[in-house]
Symmetry: C2
Subunit: 404 residues, 2 copies
């Protein structure tokens, strides 16, 4: 049986985005080559909501919620009914399949909250859960926390178009072998790969055939670049009976400081998630929920401009990394880029800490996403454009300095 010490040692968060400030950097100097860099520090561990501010009207919506008083402070655990009504309609339209506001939608404290509730509602001691590698680092941790067993499914993302995607043969074998849950993100975090229509159709078919519950994290599905196509699993004709889709306004819409997310899908699972929410944190903060009225409701042209701005940064960063010979996939959606590092004189973990100390650049080490991607780094490029490009050039110079 897992002891509490073991359980929490598996939850180490020292390299998690935003936690770097708690690291002890006392031993780094001995390994440092060359001096410090000048330049604006950039924290690529998360998006910069000063460079890309929250949706217009979101603060006003919060204040209106506050002014509404008690009825906004104390909502149902699954969120205010009136807000769910509008949201369900808009999410149904976006994903191409209707959502019942009454039974199939829950508002959560961020998409992290949604993911926690979804896995808590489907994973218990011994549950086998297919987890894509690489994928969002919390997925593996959540499965372990609830006592489940991670069944890794490899993802390719550095190949040519049409060659990328999850290992479907492995997935089918896992399903045949008693795997009960699949969790994955599309666009994939950290690579920016959007699952192809064929892969989504195959996942739907396989999950239905084997009675597997699917949790699909579509957090970044709105930030879709020119010429790309997004496929919603829930709109597939073979979508599995037990399916939860997760989205939220923390990223593209920069509402992270509000801690708002949603999960929608099978009524039975949403009901379980609400029961769990009741003992986890009751509800997403009541006044904050009011800001969801701005979501999928942005001013005309706002989202298009935000996508174009991100695409321009993406293209410049890809140019910098590929120009230096770092294997880097072009993200199809979202604001993550995941360059691979060459062999270095220091470990990838130390390099990431040196980057922060020496070059003022914070990135998330690839080891957070899969054991096999230890030598990659993830950047959230939702940043000031010029500062991001300058910081990417410092990364390239640092790689040159430490290359074996």
């Amino acid at each position: 049986m897992t002891t509490l010490d073991e359980k929490f040692s598996a939850l180490a968060a020292d390299n998690a985005p935003g936690q770097e400030v708690r690291q002890d950097t006392g031993d780094l100097d001995a390994q440092m080559k060359g001096g410090l860099f000048n330049g604006v520090p950039v924290d690529f561990s998360h998006g910069d909501v000063d460079a890309f501010p929250p949706t217009p009207g979101s603060a006003e919506a919060w204040n209106a919620g506050f002014a509404a008083g008690g009825r906004q402070a104390y909502t149902e655990y699954r969120g205010a009914a009136a807000i769910r009504e509008g949201l369900a309609a808009r999410l149904g339209t976006f994903t191409g399949c209707p959502v019942s506001a009454e039974h199939e939608l829950i508002i959560t404290p961020g998409t992290q909250g949604a993911l926690f509730l979804a896995l808590g509602a489907t994973v218990t001691t011994g549950t086998k859960v297919a987890v894509v590698e690489p994928d969002y680092f919390a997925n593996r941790k959540l499965v372990a926390f609830f006592g489940g067993e991670v069944v890794p499914i490899a993802l390719s993302w550095l190949g040519a178009r049409g060659e990328n995607g999850p290992d479907l043969a492995r997935l089918e074998a896992a399903f045949k072998d008693g795997t009960e849950v699949l969790v994955f993100s599309t666009p994939n975090n950290p690579t920016g790969l959007v699952y192809s229509p064929e892969d989504i159709a195959a996942i739907a078919r396989l999950a239905s055939r084997h009675g597997v519950t699917v949790i699909v994290d579509q957090l970044y599905s709105r930030l879709l670049y020119d010429g790309e196509r997004y496929t919603h699993l829930r709109a597939d004709e073979n979508a599995p009976e037990n399916l939860i889709t997760i989205m939220g306004p923390s990223k593209t819409e920069s509402l992270s400081g509000f801690r708002l997310g949603t999960a929608f899908g099978s009524a039975k699972l949403i009901e379980r998630m609400e029961r769990l929410q009741a003992i986890v944190s009751l509800r997403a903060a009541g006044y904050n929920q009011a800001a969801l009225d701005t979501w999928f409701n942005e001013p005309d042209g706002w989202m298009a401009a935000r996508i174009a701005d991100h695409q321009a940064i993406r293209d410049d960063l890809i140019g910098v990394f590929r120009g230096a010979g770092l294997a880097t996939a072009v993200p199809q959606a979202g604001s993550y880029v995941f360059p691979a590092l060459p062999p270095l004189d220091v470990s990838p973990e130390v390099f990431v800490r040196l980057l922060r100390r020496q070059a003022g650049v914070t990135v998330t080490p690839g080891s957070e996403f899969a054991p096999a991607t230890r030598a990659s780094i993830r950047l959230n490029f939702s940043q000031d454009h010029a500062a991001a490009v300058a910081a990417a050039k410092r990364i390239v110079e640092m790689v040159a300095r430490y290359k074996s």
Copy 2:
């Protein structure tokens, strides 16, 4: 092994405060005696933040947090360092024992969030946990959710002064028998009993002697009535090594719509709680955290007036219930009153639903707090004074109508 269906059936939240709106009331009419009552509906399942509005300056603090941008949106998981600094000093002063802002304090999404993290950090499969009965309904549910075993400890609250409190002999026996964690609230939810200095000292001594971790929920400790004395376990000279104190501004200060709470105590446990927070919901909403600067920082006289207002309502409600012969303890702190119902022609559960349907009065059934208090009802009397008294009179009339 517990299946997910069993696990979630134990988490049923249909009678939880705020969830009554989801109940099916179709079968009630057949059991109804007499007609409907007139009068302003009162929802005693939680406080009314319109009658007792949020701390002055809390909305302004939120707006300043929003304006601060990224640094306020993305705090450490345990909360913004600058906010923790001020808070730690004020909580240390209030509880009579210093708190380290760096290592011993975490900001959470409400005190519910703090309780979840505290039990998640200390309870795993098979952990024996002493749970007071009656006490806050989530305590038992959380222990069960994490796979622990509830060891019930009876509380007396209807006796004379000096006779009330937890069954210390039972507690000691439980500690000797391998119980590793004790969780309780003081003032007790739902009865309003404040643990005596002697009982707190005994709990400290017993927990230390047997190496038991203590989680003490002091949510309502500021709303202390005339002539009452509050004892902080953490300031006891024998306080156990592993001790977490939980407080938050959701109740007395009416900041429930912000979802803010705190836990403070043993650094090792706070560290575990932060790791868990990282996968549960990342952090309390960043902008909302800013409102904590108003906490223990209210305008002069504000808290005294709030206490006096609640004391006046308390005294009137006690008069109404005792006048009708319902055994009711006078709460020493907090805004809960917990009258006992006489034998009725309908079950207590049906009576609670009839109260809502027929008299416009929402209360929380005693079965939520302990199996043995099924025939009591809990009222949160942080309400409009006149409306609360009128609603209490309707409860008394309803009791007369349904009395066996």
